[in-house]
Amino acid sequence: MSKARASLSRTALVHAALIAYTLVAVFPVFLTIINSFKNRNAIFRNPMQLPTPSTFDLVGYQTVLGQGDFAVYFQNSLIVTVVSIALVLLFGAMAAFALSEYRFRGNTLMGLYLALGIMIPIRLGTVAILQGMVATGLVNTLTALILVYTAQGLPLAVFILSEFMRTVSDDLKNAGRIDGLSEYAIFFRLVLPLVRPAMATVAVFTMIPIWNDLWFPLILAPSEATKTVTLGSQIFIGQFVTNWNAVLAALSLAILPVLVLYLAFSRQLIRGITSGAVK
């Protein structure tokens, strides 16, 4: 904000609101992390207290990492998330380019059809998806998860990206055509770099639900070799006893990769979210 337009009370108000929101958003994460470093009694007796020398305990992490398979779960989650994001971005951007760039019969209808997934949750089709996966022998493979997550992420990706691609200047694309660039070169070399902020936005919005999903891993790929972190953590939650140390440690660990991916995208993301608003 420029100095001329900033008044102290307004700035203070804005910051108070933002700080309040930050506290609300960060508090559960903070609670999870501090409690993951405490022993079981301390977790229940003083959940709000920071770990002290007497309550500090790494037993949760020892359990989780000693479990052996946890590295595999992590790997599975990462593979599924990264490959799905890549596919969503690639196909989403291609569909968005076609919808925004070419005039063809049924263009609007096709756009609406592709956006339908935003309104209808993919979980409604779980039974049919499971039947399909059984029929194609994809149950208990990461491929099954990747396919489902790609389908799940595409509607929003197409919707957001096609809006952004409409803003790329026609003259630029036409200049590329006159210079002899193929439609693919125009897409990859002229348009994609210009919508990079939007791509980062889509990547983040796609990533979080995939990483956190419990439903599809449980139904489509519950085998030991294909478990994701979220599903893997469930072994510590029993019907009668729950190993809270281990659950909290597993959750804290699960935040890490998301955080890394998020930081990778965030510089672009912030530009992406605000680029429409402040021009």
């Binding site: 003259d171 630029l172 055509r177």
Partner: protein
């Protein structure tokens, strides 16, 4: 090398007919300007010539060869866009060289042509900069340079100067005129600025409502407009139109007289009127007057004249410089 023929080119967007049969002959080395009001289809016609848009029907011949099925890059054309349309992630040099690189031109030759073009446009200092690091005028020169290095048969310009400020516009206009002399290439240029049209063109094509209203040299259009539209469009301030019946004439429906073809006097003259407003431009004085006989008239006097609003004056048209139009708006010659 560089002629263009359009044969009954039509273009419709769905139910809207934008171009309704355009026939045009452009000879090698000519500088042709399309003018017309906003939305009359100038850009569309240019894009059809470039191959960026398909004509609904009709033929386009470049150097006598039908090009309707030829992609833009192979038509031997180069285009300069109103918004510059430089590649934001490439340096000035790569912006200019990309087209040649795509066509598989040897590196040494690209280098040489880029150098020549940048010398012509005094861009040598900026070759390694990105477009974002250039001013508007420099960007437009890069866009022109990108067209020059392709050594096209046909240059297409779509309002290349409309994003520049007035002083820069004059400079760049002179530069384009010089390029046309040096390159001796055929140029087709779209504008709605009639000063650009009058100063640059060998031949002006006036478009309105999707049809060509008149084709001719700037002076032909000025001296012998074919119809009311061209008469009103070419020349600034615009021609005065007077209902012939009010003047008691029966040999025309409308009489036209250009503001600069009238004289004013305080003593006597043909049309008596009251001055509404006076504009002093230094070289010219523009006088707006209201006359009972003719309605509102504009007169352009050369040099400084001391008229004031509410004065009574007499306007007299120069004989022989009246234009007559029939009821359909066509000129009576």
């Amino acid at each position: 090398m560089g002629s263009l023929q359009l044969k009954s080119v039509r273009k419709s967007f769905g139910p809207v007919d934008v171009l309704k049969g355009i026939d045009l002959d452009v000879k090698d080395g000519e500088f042709v300007i399309f003018v017309g009001p906003s939305g009359c289809g100038k850009s569309t016609l240019l894009r059809i010539i470039a191959g960026l848009e398909d004509a609904t029907s009709g033929n386009i011949l470049i150097d006598g060869a039908e090009v309707s099925a030829v992609p833009p890059a192979k038509r031997g054309i180069a285009m300069v866009f109103q918004s510059y349309a430089l590649y934001p992630h490439l340096s000035v040099k790569d912006n200019m060289g990309l087209g040649l690189k795509q066509a598989g031109t040897p590196k040494a030759q690209i280098e040489e042509r880029t150098k020549k073009a940048s010398a012509m446009l005094s861009l040598e200092k900026y070759l390694d900069r990105r477009p974002a690091e250039l001013s508007g005028g420099q960007r437009q020169r890069v866009a022109i340079g990108r067209a020059i290095v392709r050594e096209p048969k046909l240059f297409l310009f779509d309002e290349p100067l409309s994003n520049l400020d007035a002083a820069l516009r004059v400079n760049t206009r002179l530069e384009i005129a010089r390029l046309h002399r040096e390159l001796k290439a055929t140029m087709i240029y779209v504008t709605h600025d009639q000063v650009e049209a009058m100063t640059l063109a060998d031949k002006i094509v006036v478009l309105d409502g999707g049809v060509i209203q008149q084709v001719g040299s700037p002076m032909e259009l000025y001296n012998r407009p074919a119809n009311l539209f061209v008469a009103g469009f070419i020349g600034s301030p615009a021609m005065n139109f007077i209902d012939a019946a009010r003047l008691g004439r029966s040999d025309a429906a409308t009489i036209g007289i250009r503001p600069e073809h009238m004289s004013l006097s305080r003593e006597a003259g043909e049309w008596r009127g009251t001055i509404v407003h006076v504009e002093h431009l230094g070289a010219d004085t523009i006088v707006y007057l209201d006359s009972e006989k003719t309605g509102l008239l504009t007169a352009r006097l050369f040099g400084e004249h001391h008229y004031e609003a509410d004065e009574i004056v007499y306007a007299t048209p120069n004989s022989g410089q009246l234009h007559r139009f029939n009821a359909n708006g066509e000129a009576i010659l």
